[in-house]
């Protein structure tokens, strides 16, 4: 830790208890358990450990030893990144930040006893629990598809092996074959994600299989950065991509993984690769903890605490917080506000006004990067957007190349912010 910190911990914790009567339970340090070591979970664990300087015991529960980012996974498909460059380990969080990293699944939450049960049998008590488990898929969202079909028809919407499988399938397509995508309905993680993926698949195919076709069935009328993507597809991949929106049956889709067919509005298409991105919901552990309403977990905007149980905080994709999109940037931004609020409650440290930002870059083709971003503030009702920007159509090649370079800088920035 480069900063020369003054140590206020002892007095802060003690006086804090007298002041605002926060819940320093029984003996020992207050305990925070974080479930999920992704964009939200890794960040909140790191900030809690860093800023409390040991005054709070932080445990991070995450089954994987390596976290493969979803962000930039499309660039791997396009050939702009190696898969290894997307992998991050939890070593520094354990060694330099003193976080107790446990590689296991959380399978139960007892809210009365305030404990989390792990698949391996361990029971972890908490004063505060943070859930950042990302997404799961809604059962039956795409007729004909369920998770058991994910090898024949990958979603590649969680990082790692699914992404590699999808790329391998694209590379093995017959000449002039068809790649199909079943795009998800709102809300889903990374609003520009499916369309960046289409761009990167087109980029790959235009080099190895230029007569191949891309077919997208989409239940949504509009999508983020639509004008920018459509301009880019026309410019770089003219004639390759067909998107069928809801007016032409894009919401009426069925797949058959055994036959490799997609039926759109009653018309059966034979396809060579089918990327099914089903409707999404909060990671299952949020359901198990009983903090969801419908598909997502509603939270307060000021501290990301659950509206159902104030000792549980929900970050990132799983949270229903208002205007922020489900993105890694957003999860990382929420994590810092959440950490500040939890430390305030547990140790009496100062809580600063919540503020959030998001920026999502997308790569359309070589050196053709675009971005969209917004600023947000907390209100009683929700996290509300107060400002936004987006790249413009017709921008110069130089600006687009600079935007792409920024995105590379951001990737390094956010992964350092998550994993130290």
């Amino acid at each position: 830790m480069p900063l020369n910190r003054r140590a206020f911990i002892g007095t802060a914790a003690a006086a804090g208890a007298a002041l605002a009567a926060p819940m320093v339970r029984a003996q020992g340090r207050p305990r925070v358990v974080v479930v999920g070591g992704g964009a939200g979970g890794a960040t909140v664990a790191r900030y809690l450990a860093r800023d409390s300087e040991g005054a709070v015991e932080v445990t991070l529960v995450e089954p994987s030893r390596s976290y493969y980012t979803c962000f930039f996974s499309n660039l791997y498909i396009g050939g702009f990144r190696e898969i290894d460059s997307l992998a991050h380990s939890y070593g520094t969080l354990a060694s330099d930040y003193g976080i107790n990293v446990i590689h296991d699944w959380a399978v139960g939450v007892d809210r009365d006893a305030r404990t989390v049960t792990l698949a391996g049998g361990a029971v972890l008590p908490y004063d505060r629990l943070v859930l950042s488990p990302g997404i799961d898929f809604v059962d039956g969202a795409v007729p004909g598809w369920d998770v058991s079909a994910q090898n024949a028809m990958p979603h590649a919407y969680k990082g790692g092996s699914q992404t590699e499988l999808l790329k391998a399938q694209i590379e093995a397509m017959p000449e002039g074959g068809t790649f199909a995508m079943v795009a998800p309905p709102n809300p889903f993680r990374c609003p520009p994600g499916p369309y960046e993926r289409i761009s990167m698949v087109a980029h790959l195919l235009s080099r190895i299989n230029p007569t191949a076709k891309i077919l997208v069935a989409d239940p949504k009328e509009n999508f983020s950065k639509q004008g920018l993507f459509e301009e880019g597809w026309e410019r770089h991949y003219a004639g390759m991509i067909t998107r069928i929106g809801p007016d032409f049956g894009g919401a009426d889709v069925e797949v058959n993984p055994a036959e490799m067919t997609v039926t759109i509005d009653g018309v059966v298409e034979n396809v060579d690769v089918c990327n099914v991105i089903p409707a999404m919901k909060a990671g299952r552990i949020a359901d198990i903890a009983g903090v969801t309403e419908g598909n997502w977990a509603p939270v307060n905007a000021f501290d990301l605490s659950s509206r159902i149980d104030e000792t549980i905080h929900v970050l990132g994709d799983s949270a229903a917080q208002g205007d922020m999109p489900k993105s890694g940037f957003a999860a990382n931004s929420q994590a810092k506000v959440c950490s500040n609020a939890i430390l305030g409650a547990l140790t009496g440290s100062t809580v600063f006004p919540a503020r959030f930002t998001n920026t999502c870059w997308s790569l359309i083709s070589t050196d053709d990067g675009v971005k969209v971003g917004a600023a947000y503030e907390a209100t009683e009702e929700k996290i509300a957007s107060t400002d936004s920007f987006i790249s413009q159509t017709g921008e110069s090649d130089d600006l687009r190349a600079a935007t792409y370079r920024e995105s590379i800088g951001w990737y390094d920035g956010i992964t350092t912010d998550m994993f130290g």
Binding site: D323, A375, E377
Partner: protein, 233 residues
Amino acid sequence: MIRRLLPAAVLAACLAPSAGAEVGGDPDRGQELYVYCSGCHQVGRGAENGIGPHLNNIFDRGAAALDGFRYSDDLQRAARNGLIWDYDNLDAYIENPQILVSGTRMSFDGFEDQQDRDDVIAYLRRYSADPSNIPEAAPTARALDHGVAPEVLAIVGDPAYGEFLASECTSCHQASGTDSGIPSITNWPVDTFVIAMHAYKNGRRTHQVMNMMAGRLSDEEIAALAAYFATIE
């Protein structure tokens, strides 16, 4: 983070949900007021043009942009000059349509009361793109000036506040000072840092991300950030 204890009263003051933004109007009241518009304008699922154009997706729509509605020449001229329906333009048009378009065909007396306009605009906002799905969509709230309470201002020079604010920057600018596509901002002379941030804030330097980031920072917050980033090695 360096934590400093504040007297209980002060603590309570800054822990109280600070009004960083206001969600403008009340959409439910706006729905009631919409009876003044609904004779001419449909909105919502399946809305079609009537005496006036339908108002779905009106936010960020260019003026006079719907095919199949015959707009007045004057509104079309305003559209050619770049009139876009953002919050302020809607507000002005509903206050008195002739403020923006002298010869508009919308014969409507206008809502004099700001609250009425805010409420009706909040109601219309429901039928435009949702920012959680389309992040570039028009904002749903107005940021208030960070009219920070005096007690909070007293802690603004505190590096702890600088550090909290800086956590927004380190998603992009690495605390280690490494530059892999986004410039390093560590160990700058405080003045240089402050000048650069003000240039983004007042638009003398243009960059979409940094204009937005700096635009929401007060002078004190910029000073706290400059102090913080000057100290990390």
